[in-house]
Structure formats: C-alpha cells, structure tokens
C-alpha cells in the first residue's frame, strides 16, 4: 500500500476530468482525508475554465514534507480519470514502473469532436479502447462508475464509486474514507454513498470489471459508415441564376457558411471546400433554384451502395 511509503517521499495523486464532473470535489475529499491522517498536503488546481466543459485536473501530494504543488511529470502514483479521453491525455504523468491508472470509461464528447461534417465522418473522439491501455500500465483499472452507481439507484454517486476504487490504491482505512465522504455529501444520501464507495472497492478488489474490449460506454455511438473518402471534390452545387431572386435565405441558413451573394445578387458557392453537401440550401430555396449532388449521393440513388445503413435512415422518407 502506498501510504506505507508516504513518510519517505510524497504520494502523488492526479485527478482529471471534464469541467462540471466534480474533479475538485473528489480532490477535496482526498486532501481532507490525508490531512486527518496527519500528512502535509498540497492540493493544486487551476480553475476558472472549470465549469465551461474544459479539461480539468487537480494535483494532490501528501507526505511528511511536500515541496512542489504540482506532480512532476512521470511521478503520479495514482491517476484517477473521471472521463476516458482525459485519462489518456494525462497518462504520461503516470509513474511508469508502479503507477496505478483508474479510469471511468464514461465518454464526454466535446462539441469540437463534431466539427467534421463530411459524409460518413465519425466524431473526433479518441478511439483507444481500455484493453489497449490497461495491460501497458503497471496497474490499470477501468470502471463504468455511472453504471455502477445507477445500479445502486443513484447515478449521482458515480464519483463516490471512483473514490472507493481510489481507496484500494492508497490504503487508508475504509471507515476513515467514509467519515470524510459523509461530511461532503447531502446527509440523506450518506447511505447511498456508503454503498457506492464499497461498490467501487468491490469492483477493483474482485476484478469485477466490464468487458474491456468493448468500445467504452458512449453517449454518441460512432458506427462508422462505408464512405470514408471525403466527398468534397465530388459535391456539385448548381444554381439556376435566372430563378434566384437574391433573397439570401440560403446564405443565412448554410450551416457551413459557404454561400454568398455575388454582385448580381445571385447565390454562389463561395467556399466550395467548406461545403459538406448537406443539401439544406436545396431544401429551403423558395425558388427551387439550387441543386446539390455528390458522387456518393448519385451512387445511393442508383442503388449500387447505400452510404449508411438503410434502416437507420428514416430521413429518406421525407
């Protein structure tokens, strides 16, 4: 257990996640616990952007004497990740020989990941699976903490499940953990949190882990589609100038903002590279002046190959 070593050099715990998840709360529980166990503690975080969905991290160092408020790179004894991609981001911080990696497989996909609007594009979320990582670190555990907490009847106790998992790595008595946790949670949820804490311990100790080769639990599943090739060069955007009255509807409505009115007040495709072929302008042109087509689309029309599973395309009914 790590705590047996804390007298000789500090123990370093790095807690990471996404703004709003409770990184700071989890850190505070640990810091308070270490304090009550008689250690010097430094807890360092950078907030400000924390609640705006950005990447959030908190360093907790405890021992007989702690100097630097931040954990030197490659010296984190435990990396507790409350979100999968954030765990991967901070992996280089982990002590390579002994470091323990505890990760929630929960995925929080940021709006940035949905920027590629090309035909068949996947969310730009990291594709590394837990089983590809856990064997390559000294100690690796992946838990679906939200699911574990929901199984106990309160999904909001997910962070306490993670604290339970963390407790197995550090070795303070479970009762001491629970005493601190109970002061941080609403009094009516103390029992739920106690169960959640023990659930986290059980998951780690019993090796009661989810199927790691499965893709992590995902709010937005990313079933890849057949057409991986960008269709840009094949998008054909046509307008019948004599039908266009320059109403500007298409220019305003284009999600990629790639249309403009030319000097004659006729709509033109000003930024062909940005066009994803979504056909919104075609649908909404009051004058029926616009036609959008691309290679993949014509293939679909000819019935040679559908770019997406037909069953998942109710839009074709429109």
């Amino acid at each position: 257990m790590l705590v047996n070593r804390a007298d000789s050099r500090p123990i370093n715990v790095l807690v990471v996640g996404v703004g709003g998840q409770g990184v700071i709360m989890v850190s505070k529980v640990l810091a308070q616990l270490c304090l009550e166990q008689g250690y010097e503690v430094k807890q360092s975080e950078v907030h400000g952007m924390a609640k705006r969905g950005g990447s959030v991290f908190s360093h907790i160092r405890f021992g007989a004497r702690v100097w630097s408020p931040t954990i030197p790179e490659g010296e984190a004894d435990v990396l507790l990740a409350m979100e999968w991609a954030e765990g991967l981001r901070w992996l280089p911080s982990l002590e390579p020989e002994r470091g323990i990696f505890i990760a929630d497989t929960r995925r929080i996909v940021p709006p940035f990941a949905f920027r590629n609007r090309r035909r068949g594009a996947d969310p730009a979320y990291i594709t590394t699976r837990p089983d590809e990582v856990l064997d390559r670190v000294a100690g690796g555990y992946a838990i679906d903490a939200t699911r574990e907490a929901e199984a106990l009847g309160n999904g909001r106790a997910a962070n306490t499940v993670l604290l339970g998992a963390l407790s197995t790595a550090l070795g303070f008595p479970a009762e001491d953990w629970l005493a601190v946790i109970s002061r941080f949670v609403p009094s009516k949820t103390i029992e739920t949190n106690r169960q959640a804490f023990h659930r986290g311990r059980t998951v780690i100790e019993a090796g009661d882990l989810p199927d790691l080769s499965a893709p992590p639990a995902a709010p937005a599943a990313a079933a890849p589609v057949a057409t991986a090739t960008p269709a840009t060069d094949r998008v054909t955007w046509r307008i019948e100038p004599s039908w266009c009255k320059g109403c500007n509807v298409c220019v305003t409505i284009c999600p990629e903002r790639c249309l403009a009115l030319d000097q004659r007040k006729v709509a033109v495709l000003a930024a062909p590279d940005a066009c994803t072929g979504c056909r919104l302008c075609e649908y909404l042109c009051p004058d029926l002046a616009i036609t959008v087509s691309d290679g993949a689309l014509s293939v679909a029309i000819e019935g040679a190959a559908s770019p997406q599973p037909a069953a998942a395309d109710p839009g074709s009914r429109r």
């Binding site: 807890q43 954030e86 709006p111 730009a124 002061r183 709010p219 305003t252 689309l297 109710p314």
Partner: protein, 680 residues
C-alpha cells in the same frame, strides 16, 4: 429573415405554455451573505476549527464542484476539530485565502478589487471576515479599486487592493504617482500573475512593473508564506513610506496547503497628514520626491538583505541556486542538496548578499519564472550566471521543466522519458459557452449577418472558436468599442462593424469609448451582452447587479439610461433567447447611421442562480442532419446513432440541456421539441 421555422413554438409561446420557461431549481446563497461578525470560522479564540471547504473556499470552489453530490452548502458540513499544539492553529488555505487571512490579521480596514482570475478569491475570502473589521468592496475597475485603497491610506488606515496582472496595467497610472507620495496607512497590492496563461490575454511579469515604480515586490513560496508576507508587506509599507506589491501566481493562488494562522492585530488609525508637498503631485513637488524614491530603494534593500528575508539553505557548494517565490518549491523538489539563497522579494534586490552568495559557490544558477529579473542583476554584479538558459522565459515553471533545464546544463543527469503508452494525439477539449448561454445567439446572429466583430474580455470571447467563429478581435478590457471606432474611421471595412462587450466589462472600461464613438459621430453598433453578473470569474456582483460584494442591496445601473445619457439616439433592449427578434433588432441597429446600441438582456445560466428547465429533445424521424443547431456550439447537442444522407442526426443530452429553446428556434426541420417526460 428569421431562422425560426413554422411549427415551432417561440419562446414566448412556450412561456405561456405549461411551464416551459427555464425554472430555478436551486439558489446558492453567495458565500458572504448573511454573515455577521464573530462567526465560527474566524472566531479562533473560542473554537479550534479547520475548514477545508469552508466559507472562504465556498465562495469560489463551490461553483466548480460536482452538483451531483453537493446539494448541501459546504458551509454547513465540513467543520471539524483540528489538533492544536500550544498556540499553533493550522488551517488548509489556498494562496488567495491565505493572502486574505494575512491582510485581515494585519489589521486591514479597507480592501477593494475588480475580479480577475487568478486573484478573484482574495476579496471574496476577505468578505467572509466581519464587516466591522474590514470594508471589502468590488470596484468598477482596478484603477478605481487602487484609488479607493489609496484614499483609505491617506486617511490613515491599512488598505489592500487586489488584482490580476493585467489589472495592474489599468491601475498603473495611480500607482506610478502613489509611489512618489508614499503612504499614511499601509498600502499593499496583491497582484496575481498568470504564467502559462491559464485564463488571461497575456503572460506579463508584474515584477517589471514593480521595478518601474520602485515598489518593493514580495514573492511568497506557498500559502503559509503568503499569509506571513501580508504582515511583512504592511510593516514595510509603513516603515519605508511605500506601497508594497505582494506578487502571487496562478499556481500559488490556487494551491491549498496548511497555514499556521494567527489573531487579528488591530492597528490604530493615524490622523490625516496635511502635507501638500507629499500628497499633491505637481511638478515641483514630484521633482523633490523622485530622489527620495532612490533612497527608499536602498533602505528597503538593506532590510531585505537580512537573513530572515534572504535566507540561505545550506548545501553542496558545487551549484548555488538563487530563487524567489514559488520556484523555490521546485528547486527543493528537484535539487534538494544544493546551497540555496531564497529571497523574499524580487525588488529591490539585496546586492551585497547576492554577491557574497555567488562567491560562496562554484556555479550560480538563478531559477525564476518568466523574466530574468534576478539573473540580470547577478550578471550586472559581474558573476557568471545561468538562468534563462536553464528555465524558459515563457510559460509556467514546473518541476519537470526545471529538471530538464538542469540536465541540459549538466547539473543533473539526463532525463529519460519512457515510450508513451498511447500514441494517439490528445482529444481537443477547449472550454465552451454553457448550454443555454445567452451569448450564444448574439454571436450566432452577428455571424449570420456578416458583421466585423470587435470582441472584448469575458466568457463570450469563447465565441471566437469553432463553431461560432464570430469574434474578429479581442485586445483588453473595454477595447472593443474604441477598436470599432478605429475600424470605422479607417474607412476600409465593407461589413457592418459591431463591438460586443459584457455588462461588467462595459462598466469597467466601456463607457469612455462609447462617449468617444458618439462624440466623433461613428457609424457602429455596440452590443452590450448583459447577463447581469461578472460571469467569467465565477459570478461576482458589479454595479449593474444591484448587490455588493457582501451581498447587500445596492443601487443598480440602468444601462439604457446610461447609454442614452452619452448621446446615443438608437438604443434597444432585446432578449437574446428570442432569436427572430434578435435578428430583426440587429438588422435595424446596423442600418441605423451613427452609434446604435443593442442591450441583449438575459441572466447567466450559472450565476447567481443556476438555471435548469425541462430539456428539449430531437424527434429523430424528422431530423435532416443539417447540423444547423450544431453551429450554436451548445455542449448539450451532439451526434446520435442515426444517419440522414450520410450525415449524423443530432441528439440532445437531457442532463445538460436547460431548455432555452435556442436550438429549436434555429432548427429548420422543426424536429426539436420539449421533452414529454420532463413535464414535472
């Protein structure tokens, strides 16, 4: 044209509907509210308490902790006894809380600040101390705050002014004169730099400003020293007749560690000193004061040379390290065996003591964050020194950066890095505007209208990144309006020119440029994004919110009347959740010749009240995957498993959606609707 399509309820319609208006589910009382003197936390004589997430902390961190497990105010819970030996009481405090604690203990009577990360929590923490002890206030900007503190000093009481590094620039005018005048009551500035630019627009090193103004600049290493240095700063200020800067950095301000605390020492107010030659800076008086600054510099340096403030940690003499502030902790972490000269201040430097130290070691290394302030002095003293060759002039210092630097110059062995476990590049995850943020539509509309947008400082600066991409410039607090004036006067712009500025930023530095725009007959539109709070820094009050720092009622600025009084003829208020109305209003404003002002008025979804209404959902059968709603950049909207024409359909995360209806208004397919299950 409006982007709202037929079949969709407008916001007003849903209001009249059955309770679709986002409703308040939780009211977090400001940490400073309802707090009389002698409360548990600060009454250290009666109770021994340690508070981890106590009142001072609650003012700031409470907002970042998880809502899922924090329905109870941290005030109520985490109060527990701490072991106390003899007269020693310790408490875990952040650097900012320790600065506030130190100031309170040192008997500060007046404190003022404008919020700015990472300094904000100093005044918030100070406001948790009894109002009878200290008057703490938000001021409209940093210069006003400093002038308030200066006035208190004139009146003979100890005064504190807190600000971030760029705030020091705003206050610099007053400061550069005040340094000539000196103090009556002690005057201390707590200035927080932001190495690494965690939440700022630049990375300036305020120590150079201290040097410019001949102002002593103390640099604590940790929270404990931050508290102690506040006592020292007030003593130096009064003893040497000078304002004093206590410089923190983001890392120090936001690191919590154990601090040994003490009692408050009341300092008897001094009478006002009627000395016009000292207090009135006209050329004749100032000329006489300038030489005194140089005498003062020498006298302070002599004090700072004493062993308690220029401490030597004995060690091996092959390498001697000179350091100051937080970098001292990194030195002790990475090079624990070296002989170290730890300075309490970076200005003025105790040159004789530095020279003696340099002679005592074989090789001199200076470890300091950002600019080579100490290194240049050591070099001027004639010693070979390695400083910025070891640690860079840019970015935040860290143990690993120091270790790499020391390895490069051969003081430490080479650093080996293991092969990365995962090869993939980390996920791009910038901060984003919140779900339901009222700024979203303002920028969505400006982008759609093809405006040239001069931006300003605040959350809304995030609208410059994908997918809103709506802000073209952002310089400093209040710059937007005058930048827009310049663009208009340059006569090169074919697009409509719009300046966007938040309510707090407008009051901070937006009024003079608005007057300038009117005075010089400029054809621009100014958009005041009034979310009724200083949101970026975590929800602080300002003169437009009707509350003070301590949560007491205050007169409220009437923005429309204020704008009209500057001579603006065209002013309109609009609810930014009314997307069609916003488009129409902006189009009119742009068409108006002369200065037009649009006040987009809708409270922040986080502060002071967290807003959460019934979420919306996507009727997936009707979604045509056009991604129009995705262009809002709302973090609640993502891709679903469904496809249309090779493109992802969208889904709305019910947990994060607050039901603002903006996306429903821009949806062309009319497929975003209220959740049936959320009728409770």
């Amino acid at each position: 044209m409006s982007t709202r399509r037929r079949g969709l309820p407008s916001r007003r319609e849903t209001d009249q509907d059955d309770g679709q208006r986002p409703r308040v589910t939780r009211w977090r009382r400001p940490a400073h509210e309802g707090r009389a003197g002698g409360n548990v936390e600060h009454n250290t004589t009666d109770t021994d308490t340690v508070i981890l997430a106590g009142r001072a902390a609650a003012a700031t961190e409470d907002r970042t902790i998880d809502d899922r497990s924090d329905d109870r105010s941290a005030d109520d819970v985490v109060v527990r006894p701490v072991s106390r030996t003899a007269d020693r009481t310790v408490r875990p405090l952040t650097g900012n809380e320790a600065i506030a604690r130190g100031a309170w203990e040192a008997g500060v009577r007046v404190a003022a600040a404008y919020p700015g990360t990472p300094s904000t929590e100093i005044l918030e923490a100070l406001a948790t101390y009894p109002a009878d002890d200290v008057h703490a206030q938000w001021s409209t900007n940093e210069k006003v705050a400093l002038d308030v503190a200066i006035g208190a000093s004139f009146s003979g009481v100890r005064a504190l002014c807190a600000m971030k590094h760029v705030g020091l620039n705003v206050a610099a005018d007053a400061l550069m004169s005040m340094t000539y005048i000196g103090v009556n009551g002690g005057l201390v500035l707590a200035v927080c730099d932001d190495p690494g630019i965690h939440s700022s627009q630049n990375e300036q090193d305020s120590r150079l400003v201290a040097r410019l103004g001949n102002i002593p600049c103390l640099e604590p290493t940790d929270a404990g020293e931050a508290r102690a240095f506040m006592h020292l700063a007030f003593e130096l200020s009064e003893r040497f007749d000078t304002p004093v800067i206590v410089r923190a950095t983001t890392r120090l301000s936001h690191t919590r560690s154990l601090v040994e605390i003490g009692e408050r020492h009341e300092v008897a107010p001094k009478p006002f000193v009627e000395d016009r030659r000292k207090n009135v800076m006209i050329p004749g008086h100032a000329r006489a004061r300038h030489p005194l600054l140089l005498e003062r510099e020498a006298a302070v340096a002599a004090r700072l040379a004493e062993p308690d403030l220029a401490r030597i940690d004995e060690g091996e003499r092959t390498v001697g390290v000179i350091t100051v502030g937080l970098p001292y902790a990194y030195v002790k972490e990475v090079l624990p065996t070296a002989r170290v000269l730890k300075l309490a201040a970076s200005y003025p430097l105790p040159e004789d003591r530095i020279a003696a130290f340099c002679r005592s070691v074989e090789r001199v290394v200076v470890v300091e964050e950002l600019e080579p302030v100490i290194e240049d002095t050591v070099r001027r003293l004639g010693f070979a020194v390695e400083g910025k060759a070891v640690v860079p002039r840019v970015g935040e210092l860290s143990p690993e950066r120091l270790r790499h630097g020391l390895a490069e110059i051969g003081v430490l062995g080479p650093v080996t890095r293991p092969a990365p476990v995962v090869e993939a590049a980390p996920l791009v995850r910038p901060p984003v505007l919140c779900a339901g943020c009222p700024h979203t539509t303002s920028y969505f509309a400006l982008r759609a209208l093809g405006a040239r947008v001069a931006g300003d400082i605040g959350c809304y600066t995030l609208a410059t990144i994908e997918p809103l991409r709506a802000i073209d410039t952002c310089v400093s607090m209040g710059s937007s309006i005058a930048n827009a004036v310049g663009m208009a006067k340059a006569g090169q712009e074919t697009r409509p020119i719009v300046a966007t500025i938040g309510d707090s930023t407008f009051l901070h530095a937006g009024i003079p440029p608005l007057i300038d725009a009117v005075y010089n007959s400029t054809d621009i539109t100014v958009m005041i994004l009034d979310n009724q709070i200083t949101a970026m820094t975590g929800g602080q009050d300002h003169p437009g919110t009707g509350r003070t720092l301590r949560g007491e009622p205050a007169p409220k600025v009437d923005f429309e009347a204020l704008v009209r009084s500057t001579g603006v003829a065209w002013v309109r208020q609009i609810d930014p959740y009314d997307v069609g109305g916003l488009f129409r209003t902006l189009r009119e404003a742009i068409a108006h010749r002369g200065v037009s002002v649009v006040i987009a008025n809708r409270p922040c979804v986080l502060d002071p009240v967290k807003i959460k209404g019934p979420p919306l959902e996507v009727r997936e059968d009707d979604c045509i995957a056009c991604q129009s709603c995705m262009n809002l950049g709302c973090p609640a909207i993502g891709w679903s498993d469904g496809w249309h024409d090779g493109h992802h359909k969208v889904r709305i995360d019910a947990e994060s959606c607050i039901g603002c209806t903006i996306c429903a208004q821009v949806c062309v397919a009319g497929c975003i609707v209220p959740t049936k299950t959320a009728a409770h």
